[in-house]
């Protein structure tokens, strides 16, 4: 999100500040360690996770703009550090961690952010957000309050887009085939934008759509909610 999708992160900061919160950001290069973790290299993931944990320990709430990074911190850090000295810290940070849309809706109780986007959109549920964190309602509750926005659910909305982190590079043919199915479902809705709370899914989907020359555009949920 730092290098490739700064607009999403900037939108999150601006929304949280408008709601009166003081935002602190981890330093340059802070990565949750999910790429090595998901590939099985837990020993290589731990130093990265440890560095992030230390930076997050003072925060009242940790808000993450990605379902998969959110699942990493909230769900997998306790497993990654089970039986290690950082276990308690991992547990405590996990308990304070929220995915962005969940933080707004469930923690703050806010759904209307005064945004407007007169367009047809379809929403893609990132699998980690959907199945590891159980996020389904919050993004939709937020989109429902965006003026002019019409949400059209796509067929098989809960089917994976095929990104899957390093999987997308290790098994590109399978990843691409899955992505083609997803893009087909999104295109069928006639939407102008495909919105998600996960930038990595969007990178994959946008990559396929651009290559195919399709006009459908991807947007992070925070960008939609910051569209005033």
């Amino acid at each position: 999100m730092d290098a490739l999708f700064p607009r999403a992160a900037i939108s999150m900061v601006q929304i949280l500040e408008r709601l009166g919160h003081r935002v602190v950001c981890p330093r340059e290069g802070a990565c949750c360690g999910q790429p090595p973790f998901n590939s099985g290299y837990w020993a290589e993931a731990r130093p990265m996770a440890r560095q992030l944990l230390v930076q997050l320990q003072e925060a009242e709430a940790v808000v993450i703009g990605s379902g998969s990074c959110g699942a990493m911190v909230k769900k997998f850090y306790p497993e990654l550090f089970a039986g290690l000295p950082e276990a308690a810290l991992a547990q405590s940070v996990a308990e304070r961690t929220w995915e962005f849309s969940e933080f707004l809706v469930r923690k703050l109780g806010v759904t209307d952010l005064g945004a407007q986007l007169p367009a047809k959109v379809t929403f893609h549920d990132g699998c980690h957000g959907l199945r590891e964190l159980g996020i389904k309602h919050s993004p939709r509750a937020l989109l429902a309050k965006v003026r002019g926005l019409e949400l059209i659910e796509m067929k098989d909305a809960e089917t994976c887009c095929g990104f899957g982190g390093t999987f997308s590079a290790k098994f590109p043919a399978i990843s691409t085939a899955m992505g083609d199915v997803k893009c087909g479902s999104a295109l069928e809705t006639g939407a102008e934008y495909i919105v998600s709370n996960d930038s990595s899914c969007l990178m994959h989907i946008q990559g396929l759509l651009s290559r195919a020359g399709k006009p459908l555009k991807t947007l992070h949920l925070a960008e939609v909610l910051n569209h005033l």
Partner: protein, 242 residues
Amino acid sequence: MSERKKILARIREALQTAAPRPGSHAEPGGKPHTGLTPGGIAARSAGHDPAASEARRWLPKVGGSFEEQLALFAQNAADLKANFQLFASWQDLSTALGQLRDAENWQRVASHQAELSSQACAALDRPVCWTDRGYDVLAMEQCDAGVTECDALIAQTGSVLVTSRSAGGRALSVLPPHHVVIARRSQLVADLPAAFALLQAKYAPEFPSMMSFITGPSRTGDIERILVLGAHGPKKLTIFCV
């Protein structure tokens, strides 16, 4: 050491370490995934034993009255493409049997000697291949219908419960192309737990060697997932209840 001993020894060795209870993982809603932390380990025999009777609360709902259960059975049978009819009298049932025989031009039937099946065969008035004292498989295969009794009708699923003792052996209810079940209305039970309780009460510990829930006529979807009836067993299932 025999293989039996070796396998049992490997099992006992493996079970020295307990596994976490199911459902302690992977619940959405953000419960941390703690894997095999000591808190997740349950002792081998600890914890709540899910009584199988608990299943009744999760399975598809069945009404309490006979009328509700009958209506549910009839609906399920229709969905399964089985022919179910309830008759007010034996006279009505035997008339309907005769009509079925004539409509399908039955030349011979197979059956077993029991009160209802024998009466049905008498009403059918066709040569019968009786299974009770051994039978010729080729002769049974030539029969147009197999007429049997049953142990129960299950409202919840539209199933007929037969056993090798109640329904003339193992083949009679699957070899002929049309299986005709003659049942009493008192044989209708609400659900699967009730059917298993019935089997226990009626037979344990000397169970028949075969007990089968028949749920509609034989079917397959192995060609393009398109439903075809009568794959190997009967193409038709008729349940006449009196």
